[in-house]
């Protein structure tokens, strides 16, 4: 039986996403899917879902939701506490719920997923997944063409989103040391059109600081900074060719655009470099104002870094812990309060030992 997660307040931008819609790009259909696939996969594992189950992706601030008719087991992949409200005989009780901790949301209870601290993108997951009908093999929302997800659009207040199933057997789980943000340079390989840039511009691409502009969304992150210069004999325009998320276009104004998961399938600007797969999740976590630097790696390093991200995902999965919380308010509050320390840890990279340590040097 499918339950229902009702949206009370969607926040600034909330969409249904899974791991995307590969296989249709020759028709002009973008990949779409989670902007931070690392966190969606980890959240799904915490909830006992397959990696590719759909969740709610939100930017900067999460949705306020309630369960309708039947309880749902939920968790938030973020870096700030969520807020559970429930009615009691004495009024409304509010309990802080740490991120990366499952709770069972009873009908009539409200969960405010909270405002992200340093992350740009968070997820609200449900055991059993968001159960909208797949379109072309994916539940991801592609809002520009109005398909996928919930009615092809970002969520609105009042939307009844089909979700989950029976609350699974077994108690609640938590992730003791949630992943943080990496602040080092984004790792790239030059190309495919680095020959459109002078050697000086290629050097500056790697040495100059850029800043994420406010024109940043799921299609791409536009960067501010000293403009890069195209070689006069080549210019910024190319005959359009294939694009993938992570490719870095430089249009005529010289300001790079790191393409995001909803990027078009073909594009006509020279691409100076491409972010390696291991760092694509970091593109989904860029917020306006964030500093951005780039560093080149070899193909072999790209392969090794990607393997380390997978190993990190498995390592975190092996460290899920059970917690006793079902139905006991005091324990729930106690555990929730205890984990606030863990949240603070997540914001400080030095308090997250083992997370891709040393890769930025």
């Amino acid at each position: 039986m499918t339950g229902c997660l009702k949206i009370v307040d969607p926040g600034p931008m909330c969409t249904v996403q899974d791991l995307g819609r590969p296989g249709f790009r020759h028709l002009g259909v973008p990949l779409s899917g989670a902007a931070d696939g690392f966190r969606l996969r980890l959240l799904n594992r915490l909830l006992g879902n397959p990696d590719g189950a759909a969740g709610l992706e939100f930017r900067l601030k999460g949705p306020i939701v309630t369960a309708v008719d039947a309880p749902l087991r939920v968790a938030v992949a973020g870096d700030a506490p969520a807020d559970l409200s429930r009615r009691t005989a004495d009024g409304v009780e509010r309990i802080a719920i740490a991120p990366w901790r499952t709770i069972t949301l009873e009908p009539g209870e409200f969960l405010d997923s909270g405002t992200l601290g340093s992350l740009a993108t968070g997820y609200l997951g449900v055991a059993g997944g968001i159960d909208v009908a797949p379109v072309m093999g994916s539940r991801s929302t592609y809002a520009r063409a109005g398909f996928g997800g919930f009615r092809g659009r970002p969520l609105k207040a009042g939307d009844p989103v089909p979700a989950g199933g029976a609350v699974p057997d077994g108690g609640e789980r938590l992730l003791p040391r949630p992943p943080g943000i990496e602040s080092g340079p984004l790792r790239v390989l030059f190309g495919p059109q680095d020959d459109h840039f002078s050697a000086e511009s290629l050097d500056r691409f790697l040495s100059a600081p850029f800043t994420v502009s406010d024109r940043t969304d799921r299609m791409g992150a536009r960067l501010d900074g000293a403009p890069l210069v195209h070689r006069p004999d080549k210019g910024p325009d190319i005959l359009s060719d294939g694009l993938i998320p992570g490719a870095i276009q430089v249009p005529g104004d010289g300001r790079p655009i790191i393409l995001g998961v909803d990027c078009q399938t073909l594009g006509g600007y020279a691409k100076i470099a491409t972010v390696i797969a291991a760092d694509l999740w970091r593109v989904g976590q860029l917020r306006p104002g964030d500093p951005v630097r780039f560093a080149t790696v070899t193909e072999a390093e790209a392969d090794r870094l990607r393997a380390r991200v997978e190993a990190r995902l498995d390592d975190l999965t092996n460290h899920f812990e059970g917690w006793v919380g079902d139905g006991l308010i005091d324990e729930r509050a106690l555990y929730a309060a205890n984990l606030i320390d863990g949240v603070c840890d997540a914001r400080d990279p030095t308090h997250v030992p083992g997370f891709l340590e040393g890769l930025d040097r």
Binding site: P22, H26, V29, L239, A302
Partner: protein, 257 residues
């Protein structure tokens, strides 16, 4: 093999370009507005057959463009070196002739409210409206690629007399079905969207149905021409399309090429 109006650049050697560990592009080079390379569609067809037969492990998409094709990869399972070598070898070998293309005759209505840039095109080309629209309908287009939006066809080559740059200021909203021309190409907008092409008519033919087993009407390599319809017929077809009662197969071209 369809005629793409090839230039002396046809025959340029293909180069395999890399998008980090995420994709490989076989490029035949060429500046913006260079004519499409006929090898691309033949190679893309062969690669799509290989993909469907499970002989391209780690490849998720084969994406043809005008003078290039891109293999999108699952980085965890793709063997980039062997794929790059296969792409390079395919580019060296002769490309077998493509199958006879599917032919389409798509309805178009040129009424003024559906063709907001027709007057500008006439002014820029010195042609009468009837010459512009007849010249456009006389073109035998090939679908060179689908991109920009799901199902959005890039059609070429356009009658050289009609070649104009895109509008200096793109429109924020171009209505779905709009037929535009720019440079050496023609397009049809399958969705309401921003756009900068010069709009000379509108077609009611459904181009993309996300819920269908085969969502796209057109595919790369198809042959397309336009057939004028009067407003009452256009309105009937558009109403049927909105109700989902218009089978795009109705627009397969029965006429001999």
């Amino acid at each position: 093999m369809p005629d793409h109006g090839g230039t002396d650049e046809d025959g340029a050697k293909g180069r395999v370009l890399r998008l980090a560990d995420g994709a490989l592009t076989l490029s035949f080079g060429g500046a913006p507005n260079t004519a499409a390379d006929p090898r691309v569609l033949g190679l893309a067809g062969r690669l799509r057959e290989e993909l469907a037969a499970g002989r391209l492990p780690g490849v998720t998409d084969v994406v043809p463009a005008f003078r290039s094709l891109t293999l999108c990869l699952d980085p965890a399972t793709a063997d980039r070196e062997s794929l790059a070598a296969r792409l390079g070898a395919m580019a060296e070998a002769p490309v077998p002739p493509t199958a006879e293309p599917r032919r389409w005759a798509l309805p178009i209505c040129h009424d003024a409210d559906l063709a907001p840039d027709l007057a500008d095109v006439c002014a820029a080309t010195g042609l009468a409206a009837s010459e512009v629209t007849a010249g456009h309908r006389a073109c035998r287009f090939t679908v060179l690629a689908l991109g920009f939006l799901p199902g959005f066809p890039y059609l070429g080559p356009l009658d050289a007399r009609l070649a104009l740059p895109r509008r200096a200021t793109p429109r924020l909203r171009v209505p779905a079905g709009s037929v535009g021309i720019a440079n050496a190409m023609c397009c049809i907008y399958p969705w309401d969207s921003p756009g900068g092409w010069n709009l000379i008519g509108r077609s009611p033919a459904p181009l993309f149905d996300p819920a269908a087993d085969v969502p796209n009407t057109l595919e790369a390599g198809d042959s397309v021409r336009f057939v004028a319809v009067e407003r009452p017929r256009f309105d009937d077809l558009r109403a049927a399309a909105r109700e989902g009662a218009l089978d795009p197969m109705a627009f397969r071209d029965r006429e001999a090429a």
